[in-house]
């Protein structure tokens, strides 16, 4: 920590938050809000005189409220920067009549009550996100009478009670009578591995943390009875199993079974635990002086803000998603942004440090190149056709399109565009060209596909990263399926324009299949949400026109789901067999008339253009 504070190449901005980030790989512009500390951090000598005179007693966040601090304070003795700050919500008042005591005693004169937040602007080429994780709030779950029984605490509170910074020194005293407890129990997986209460995932660190705590206790208090109640003890890390063994050898009792409930003895304030020992099948009762809930961890609430500001993706568990699980686990899906530590998933210290070094190496690789090449698959806007309606700005997952002034045509920031093509698919005015995946190129492929015997073919769109790759894996695994699908590859299913679908039906396609990534896997953050919305709209229109909506199928298939691809192919082929030549002819007739849907769709009431079935200009 000291090294970070001292390093000449590191500018430390504490008590600061990222407000806004614009730009793209190699060229990010960042606005940081540095909150007022009311104490000059460079001048402060941490002499403590100010805190001595401060009359306010406030809740000490850093001790989880187990201790108090003053309104002017330093978070903990080794803080970097080693400077006090004032919490203005606690402070009595800054004019001399109200208080102003700290100002009087401050020798270096570093207190300034009028300090304001400042905005710092930075230009950087790379960003490493290391926003960490949070501990589950035990009061929300309130398991095992946590809020009611004083001698029930969380593992993090236990950490404070045994920590060197705590008022009792390093002696563990139980809250009710301030005596060293004779017996203690730990309940594992509180808030973890539970779909209903807390989180479904394993929090990774709690088993080892408890093993560590029991070793600490057994070293200091060899006679203390220790119980650990668990479902599974997970000690997969290097040397971890040894520690677990040592803990058992030192007499810690590991009981396989999670207590249903606990009671408190009203006299002694002891906690009585009833647990079914699943190894012996017997019900056991343990009277304990103290009970520790080994609580899990969760994504920080602020992760959502950072995710928005940096256009990152979130996995279903709420942690930030990496670019590729195995092949690219450190890069975020946005170029030039890397993930380190627990913002990506719960980790122990070693795991965090390892990933951080990896992220630094990935960032350095980019920095050292000095120039970076960006794929030419980007979108282009024709300013003459653009009406500045703003839909492209809205759908772009990367904020790569901007409208500078009102009514000015939209512009693409080429280096920020990732090439999903959603903007081109959503533009109602044909103003956007997706380079290398143009309308003309795709419509020509549909023409070629359906020129002969269209009734035999399933017009299939597959996104490059998931469904196309899933089909590749089916091949690699030699999984057989009907041969009727003809695949058109797009980078993202978001590229599949409504007019491609209408054109395919007009050219006699019995079935059109649009396939893409599962929501969590979308390579373009959330571009495939637009695919779904679009398909839902087309289903309605098909129905209005008297065409069976099921002839347009939507499927999500990951790169790993070869079997799923097979079942999708089979289902599509079964469906194709139900579409007769007459039905296809009828569809062509309906669509060639270019007639409006029979009932008025909402979109039209708003005066939007109807889907134009334009003949491809392929010839």
């Amino acid at each position: 920590m000291m090294d970070v504070g001292r390093h000449p190449k590191i500018e430390l901005l504490t008590y600061s938050e990222i407000e806004n980030v614009t730009g793209y790989i190699g060229n990010f512009h960042v606005n940081v809000r540095k909150k007022a500390r009311y104490v000059d951090e460079d001048a402060c000598t941490a002499c403590e005189k100010c805190a001595e005179v401060c009359p306010v007693v406030a809740f000490d966040e850093h001790q989880l409220g187990l201790a108090s601090r003053k309104a002017i304070y330093i978070p903990f003795p080794q803080s970097v920067p080693a400077s006090y700050l004032i919490n203005m919500e606690d402070c009595l008042g800054t004019n001399p009549i109200a208080c102003g005591k700290c100002l009087e005693v401050c020798d270096p004169k570093c207190i300034d009550y009028d300090e304001k937040d400042s905005i710092i602007e930075l230009d950087v080429g790379v960003i490493i996100v290391a926003t960490g994780m949070d501990v589950i709030d035990p009061t929300v779950l309130d398991e095992y009478h946590y809020t009611e029984f004083e001698n029930v605490m969380t593992s993090w509170e236990f950490e404070i009670l045994t920590g060197p910074g705590y008022v009792t020194g390093s002696e563990l005293l139980r809250p009710t009578d301030r005596k060293v407890p004779k017996s203690i129990g730990f309940i594992q997986c509180v808030g973890s591995r539970d779909d209903k209460r807390g989180h479904p995932y394993c929090s990774n660190i709690c088993c080892m943390n408890t093993v560590k705590d029991t070793l600490y206790l057994k070293e200091h208090y060899p006679d203390m009875e220790c119980y650990v109640y668990y479902m599974d003890i997970r000690t997969f890390g290097k040397q971890y199993e040894d520690l677990y063994k040592r803990s058992k050898e030192m007499g810690v009792r590991y009981i396989r079974g999670i207590p249903g409930d606990v009671e408190e003895d009203p006299e002694t304030k002891n906690v009585i635990v009833a647990v079914e020992n699943t190894t012996t099948g017997k019900l056991e009762h343990h009277e304990l002086d103290m009970l520790v809930l080994s609580v899990g961890v969760e994504p920080r609430v602020e992760t959502a803000d950072i995710q928005k500001i940096l256009t990152l993706s979130k996995a279903p568990d709420g942690f930030l998603a990496e670019s590729h699980y195995q092949l690219n686990p450190i890069d975020s899906p946005t170029g030039g942004i890397f993930l380190a530590g627990c913002c990506e998933s719960p980790k122990d210290v070693k795991g965090s440090v390892t990933q951080a070094s990896g992220a630094a190496a990935r960032a350095e690789r980019l920095l050292s190149q000095r120039r970076v090449k960006v794929e030419a698959i980007t979108s282009e806007i024709d300013p003459d056709l653009c009406t500045s309606c703003g839909i492209c700005v809205k759908v772009c997952p990367y904020k790569a399109i901007r409208i500078e002034k009102k009514k000015a045509p939209a512009e693409v920031i080429e280096a920020a565009c990732k090439g999903c093509g959603t903007c081109a698919a959503e533009c109602k005015f044909g103003a956007i060209t997706m380079k290398h995946f143009t309308d003309d190129q795709i419509l020509s492929m549909i023409d070629a596909m359906l020129e002969e015997k269209p009734e035999e073919k399933i017009c299939t769109f597959a996104c490059n990263w998931c469904s196309y790759a899933g089909a590749d894996l089916a091949g690699l695994s030699r999984i057989q399926y009907p041969p009727n699908a003809r695949i058109i590859r797009t980078m993202c299913s978001g590229r599949v324009d409504e007019k491609f679908i209408w054109y395919a039906f007009q050219k006699g396609a019995p079935v059109v299949l649009v396939s893409g990534c599962h929501f969590v896997d979308c390579h373009y953050i959330d571009a495939n949400r637009w695919t779904q919305k679009r398909i839902e709209k087309i289903w309605d229109k098909l129905e209005q026109k008297g065409i069976r909506p099921e002839r347009l199928q939507l499927e999500w298939c990951s790169a790993a789901e070869a079997k799923r691809w097979q079942s999708i192919m089979r289902a599509a082929e079964n469906l194709r067999k139900t579409v007769s030549k007459q039905e296809i002819e009828e569809t062509i007739r309906i669509l060639s008339n270019g007639d409006k849907p029979k009932t008025k769709a909402k979109a039209e009431a708003k005066g939007k253009k109807k889907p134009k079935v334009t003949a491809a200009s392929s010839e």
């Binding site: 779904q532 909506p549 347009l552 499927e555």
Partner: protein, 44 residues
């Protein structure tokens, strides 16, 4: 706010009730055949 709605699978025809939040797209999977071609049926 989540609302209840009827959904129909366009692969197997299965109909079921589920919650949805207007304006928030959600990945839907037919509980019977696992297809994602699940359509929300509007009330008549």
């Amino acid at each position: 706010m989540a609302e209840e709605a009827k959904f129909k699978c366009l692969r197997c025809g299965h109909e079921y009730t589920d919650t949805y939040t207007p304006g928030v797209p959600q990945e839907r999977t037919c509980p019977k055949c696992t297809s994602n071609s699940v359509r929300r049926m509007k009330e008549k």
